[in-house]
């Protein structure tokens, strides 16, 4: 049996896989809605953890969380498998499920993902795709980053499912076993707004939210003193990559979240949310300015007007904007 899978592209892979799988079972939600309900907006700076030699900066929560939260909020039941030592089993179970007519989501590394644009093929292992058909040795893939449906061979798929490096997928695969006909979207939205705001403001710790941004700003000022030009530029560049590289929809998901707030503002007829949407849009514009200035610092050797100090200043400004924004979000009445 061939599965008819309605592939829709999205900015971010995990949102896209979640939305595409839900659509397959009759629940039509936009990417922004999935992202919002999954409380996907985030910021963290972990200077003591290095990935590929660069301290970790992330604009999204841990991989897999958005999918989990959305399913929980809507009452969707899922099944997840991992086969750390048995690639053959991971592939045969996939074949079995496809034959049963179940599209299967999975985590893969992008380095050996044959259809992916080559400049993006680094050893990044938290990419999500849906596999939904097998024709001989070739699988049909719905990859949310790609505009069209792609194909991949058995051997290549096995390779990317067992990618090595940081955060190994280990053949992780998941699918939906039960999708409810009715669900309480309003409640899901309400809870998610609260959760997002809480993560970014109330929860203690220096490494999340606006405090993390200021800590990062403080470190940015030190980089040109502490390191040589190349290393400092590499660190700065990696922030921009996390913020803008495939998948964030611009400005480290801030625009996507603005789209979410606008959508729920209309849905629930809430002017407050519409106003907050405008506010986070302005914050997003500042993030874009931040990226532009970082790129200029990286590119030019003797820049007098834009320096590590001035991009740090801008980041501090953004951090206070976000602090104010999330405090307002926390108090929204629904």
């Amino acid at each position: 049996m061939k599965i008819e899978f309605n592939h829709k592209m999205s900015a971010h892979c995990e949102n896209g896989v979640t939305a595409n799988l839900l659509r397959h079972y009759g629940i039509e939600l936009s990417e922004a809605m999935v992202f919002g309900i999954g409380s996907g907006l985030f910021f963290t700076y972990l200077p003591f953890i290095k990935m590929n030699g660069v301290p970790v900066v992330s604009f999204r929560p841990l991989p897999g969380l958005i999918f989990k939260r959305v399913n929980k909020a809507l009452g969707v039941k899922t099944k997840t498998y991992r086969f750390p030592k048995n690639p053959e089993k991971a592939m045969s179970l996939l074949d079995e499920k496809i034959l049963e007519g179940i599209p299967v989501g999975m985590v893969v590394g992008v380095y050996n993902l044959t259809y992916f644009p080559a400049p993006y093929r680094f050893h990044f292992n938290a990419h999500n795709i849906v596999v939904f058909n097998k024709d001989g040795n070739i699988y049909s893939v719905s990859d949310p980053i790609m505009e069209n449906i792609e194909t991949i061979s058995y051997n290549d798929l096995k390779l990317v499912r067992y990618a090595k490096g940081t955060y190994k997928p280990k053949g992780k695969m998941y699918y939906m076993t039960y999708v409810p006909k009715e669900f309480d979207l309003r409640n899901a939205i309400k809870k998610s707004l609260n959760k997002t705001a809480k993560y970014m403001t109330v929860y203690p710790g220096q490494v999340i939210g606006d405090r993390a941004m200021r800590m990062l700003a403080k470190d940015i000022r030190k980089w040109p003193v502490k390191y040589d030009r190349r290393k400092a530029a590499k660190y700065l560049g990696s922030i921009v990559r996390m913020q803008e590289e495939i998948g964030t929809g611009g400005a480290g998901f801030r625009f996507m979240y603005a789209a979410f707030l606008q959508e729920v503002g209309n849905l629930l007829d809430n002017a407050e949310l519409a106003k907050l949407s405008e506010e986070i849009t302005l914050i997003g514009d500042k993030w874009r300015l931040f990226a532009t200035q970082c790129a200029r610092v990286i590119k030019s050797r003797n820049n007098t007007d834009i320096t590590y100090d001035s991009v740090a200043d801008l980041l501090v400004e953004i951090s206070y904007d976000e602090k104010a924004f999330f405090n307002k979000l926390l108090k929204v009445n629904l």
Partner: protein
């Protein structure tokens, strides 16, 4: 960001294979999805990342020509790997991989182990490792950034 401000700075980063979704405001202030081929600041940081890979590759060739490293060192950097990732892909212990990077040990590596490297690096034959030709290998590197 407004719809008409969504940048279309093409540096062939997506190789025409796809475009990226960006969220932007239309004339009525409603959010819409707009496809983009790229944005300059982002292209700059992507090029920066590849620049580093390129430098590592050139450094590897120097080291091999000086007789300090074996050809595996070149392919490791070409595949953006370090000793740890290479050890994981080949299934060898990391200290074994490090030994294989020494030219004197490399000469004595068994056929089956070379075969493993060939598979991981996706080479046509083990000859590319044994009779390493820097010039030829550099020509094979597909995209120029």
């Amino acid at each position: 960001m407004r719809k008409n401000e969504v940048p279309q700075d093409d540096a062939n980063m997506l190789e025409g294979k796809t475009r990226e979704l960006q969220y932007a405001l239309d004339e009525n202030g409603s959010y819409v999805e707009v496809k983009s081929v790229g944005w300059e600041p982002k292209n700059i940081v992507m090029q920066q990342a590849w620049e580093e890979v390129k430098e590592n590759i050139n450094y590897a060739i120097e080291e091999i020509e000086k007789g300090n490293k074996s050809p595996i060192y070149f392919f490791m950097h070409k595949n953006i790997m370090d000793e740890k990732i290479l050890a994981e892909y080949t299934g060898f212990w990391i200290f074994i991989v490090k030994r294989h990077l020494k030219p004197s040990i490399f000469k004595k590596i068994s056929k089956s182990k070379l075969q493993k490297y060939k598979e991981v690096f996706k080479l046509d034959s083990v000859n590319e490792l044994i009779n390493f030709d820097a010039k030829k290998e550099l020509e094979k590197i597909k995209f120029e950034i």
